[in-house]
Amino acid sequence: MSEIIATLKKDYIYNLMVKGKRQDGRGFKDFRDLKLETNIISKAEGSAKVTLGDTQVLVGVKLQTGTPFPDSQDEGVIITNLELNPIASPEFEPGPPREEAIEMARVVDRGIRESGAIDIKKLCITVGESVWIVFIDVHILNDDGNLIDASCLAAIAALMTTIVPNEQQGIGMNVPLAMKEIPVGVTLVKIGSKLMVDPSRDEEAVCETKLTVVSSSDGSVAGMQKMGSASFTEAEVLEAIDMACEKAAELRELYLEALVKQE
């Protein structure tokens, strides 16, 4: 993802940053317009689409039965995959996932797994023999920056609206997927010495480095990942964590808690 960016544009974004402004007039702590739609793919057990500015991410959740891992015989399995679809950007190519895609998938997965978002014990059908496997497939439809936050949000929203198809397996009624936590990922970019949330594509291209923080509803951190080739100071890391937790709480309240009430 090394799109060539004009030095002029880089200077422009830097100069704006010094004045405390951003290209599209947002503040450093403002997200772009965010739209969350759920249950848009009826064939999937759960689905959600997030539109963040011009970024579009679609997540479909499929459930299948399978064998548990030998060391966690009474637990379901979570599998996350992320596709950088060639339709999303001229830079994306068809073929096996590149390291960016693998990294993003693993960050999304880590947030969901480590926060204990899914009650995986309830996905067990027969101990040691049969469990539900939750496939979270993230499709990037349009890349206008900050794919990770959109992916995290879409993934958790899709999971929250997922129905476990017990009837299909003849093991009782269909029930909503048991959720315990709502992790939200927030990515901060460092431009100059400033941190800002929800980078646009241009900001991502000129930024020195990014830090994604996935936090839970109790304000604790479930996963972190630094991406990009510059460094953070310790103070910046701590500041980023605070900013991320704050923004995550906002997003959770605005968009996700409504999904819980629906149930």
């Binding site: 064998t67 637990e75 990294e103 997965d109 480095t209 630094k226 510059a230």
Partner: protein, 472 residues
């Protein structure tokens, strides 16, 4: 895998391996261990064993990967299939690709790549033995190897993880703590404390993270001192002295023995080496005598006879000794007589089978020596294995070059990850197939839980049931 210990931290604040919360595992670094690499480093950290080779700056292949304004830094983290409890499938996994990426980015701020446009700097990491914290160990080793290769850097990178175990923040998790702890937080930083790698999984509050970062700074400082000491030792030695040293230790076997001894047995090394030396000397002396005396095979039947004679004699001596001791109550005398007897006996059979009695002793010694021999060759083969694997990437690149087709690269990767295609296809086009897959996949997963199963793409060992890096 062992079951979860009841307590990971004892009541007196010590961890299972006896460390305090703020202590790192013992670390040993050697540099210049690979002759063909431009820079190399072997690092042991606790039970982790990491070998790093650095090549470059060298021409970047394929040429489309070249950059006109800077060198391309390539970092390949690879786990040997035997490095973990359950064999890991060779080749890149999703986990190793991610680690390679973040580790490369950890070095990009310090490597002065802009000095070498159009070149590549390759860092190849082989994890020979894994015991939690391999990515941090690999970064520490790579840092030293880069310096060994003479790559201009603004400073060394050091890396260390902290985590939460039994509710307590501790430095440098070991395997059990990683498996059963509550969080893992690897960090890499420059000498000035700029953070160049941050990853985290688990459950931590912002306050705990702050506390942990303080611990990590302390840990990194200690590691930096070890790294610097090793580099100083190599590069501060005057050239004449080095040449002398090289002449003295030209025997490469000695080097291998040194590196082959695990850190935890370091104190025993001296003793072992002494025994080895003595055995060798003795063996040489004996073999000379044997060769003088003639064929060894003839000795064998006679040896049995000899042993019987010795046993009889010994029994006799013992009986006599006891009897005499009881009768006269003078032990010394008894011993003397026994000794005399023995001496007589020895003299008599030495006279007849002079060269035979000694091979007997040699046989006793040999098994002991064989043990050390095995240990030695064990490591040797590890190293050899690595050295043989090493040139692979270069070969791949050559193939690409020759073919001159971009597809060569994608085909290659496709081959190694065929699951990508099948996964995507099945979920989009063939629901029937999907069903079949669903039944098949988990079975294979059982077999290769820690390897890359058919869901290489969607699932990898570190993401399975329990905590994060279970395969480290």
């Amino acid at each position: 895998m062992s079951d979860k210990p009841e307590k990971l931290i004892t009541d007196d604040g010590l961890r299972l391996d006896g460390r305090r919360a703020d202590e790192i595992r013992p670390m040993k670094i050697e540099i210049g261990v690979l002759s063909r690499a431009d820079g190399s480093c072997y690092l042991e950290w606790g039970r982790n064993k990491i070998l790093v080779g650095v090549f470059g700056p060298r021409e970047a292949h394929p040429r489309r990967s070249q950059r006109a304004d800077t060198a391309v830094i390539r970092y390949k983290y690879n786990m040997a299939s035997f490095s973990v409890e359950d064999r890991s499938r060779p080749g890149p996994s999703r986990r190793s690709i991610e680690i390679s990426k973040v580790s490369r980015e950890a070095f990009e701020p310090v490597i002065m790549a802009e000095l070498f446009p159009k070149t590549a700097i390759d860092i190849f990491v082989e994890v020979l033995q894994a015991d939690a914290g391999t990515r941090t160990a690999a970064i520490n080793a790579s840092s030293v190897a880069l310096a060994d290769a003479g790559i201009p850097m603004k400073g060394l990178i050091t890396s260390c993880a902290f985590g939460k175990v039994d509710g307590k923040i501790v430095l440098d998790l070991n395997k059990d703590e990683d498996n059963y702890g509550d969080a893992d937080f690897p960090v890499a930083m420059t000498q000035d404390g700029e953070i160049t790698l941050v990853q985290m999984d688990g459950h931590l509050t912002p306050e705990e993270i702050k506390e942990g970062l303080e611990l990590v700074k302390k840990g990194c400082k200690e590691i930096l001192e070890i790294q610097q000491a090793v580099l100083r030792k190599k590069f501060e030695t005057p050239m004449e002295e080095l040449a002398e040293e090289a002449a003295e230790t030209s025997n490469t076997e000695n080097e291998v023995v040194e590196t082959g001894v695990p850190l935890e047995y370091a104190s025993e090394v001296a003793v072992v080496e002494e025994v080895l030396k003595e055995t060798k000397e003795f063996e040489d002396a004996v073999s000379e005598e044997i060769s003088e005396a003639g064929a060894v095979t003839e000795v064998v039947p006679e040896l049995d006879e000899l042993e019987e004679i010795i046993k009889e004699a010994e029994a006799g001596i013992e009986e006599e000794t006891i009897e005499e001791a009881i009768e006269s109550e003078i032990e010394e005398e008894a011993e003397k007589e026994a000794e005399e007897e023995e001496a007589d006996f020895e003299a008599s059979f030495e006279a007849s089978f002079e060269e035979v009695s000694e091979p007997d002793e040699v046989e006793e010694l040999e098994p002991e020596e064989a043990d050390f021999g095995e240990e030695e060759t064990g490591f040797e083969s590890e190293i050899e294995g690595f050295v043989e694997e090493e040139p692979q990437p270069a070969e791949e690149l050559q193939v690409e070059e020759e073919a001159g087709i971009e597809e060569a690269a994608s085909e290659e990767t496709l081959e190694s990850e065929p699951e990508v295609e099948s996964e995507a296809e099945s979920s989009e086009e063939a629901p029937a197939e999907e069903q079949v897959e669903a039944e098949e996949e988990p079975v294979e997963e059982l077999e290769e839980e820690k390897c890359e199963g058919p869901w290489k793409v969607v699932k990898d060992p570190s993401e399975s049931g329990s905590r994060g890096e279970k395969d480290e």
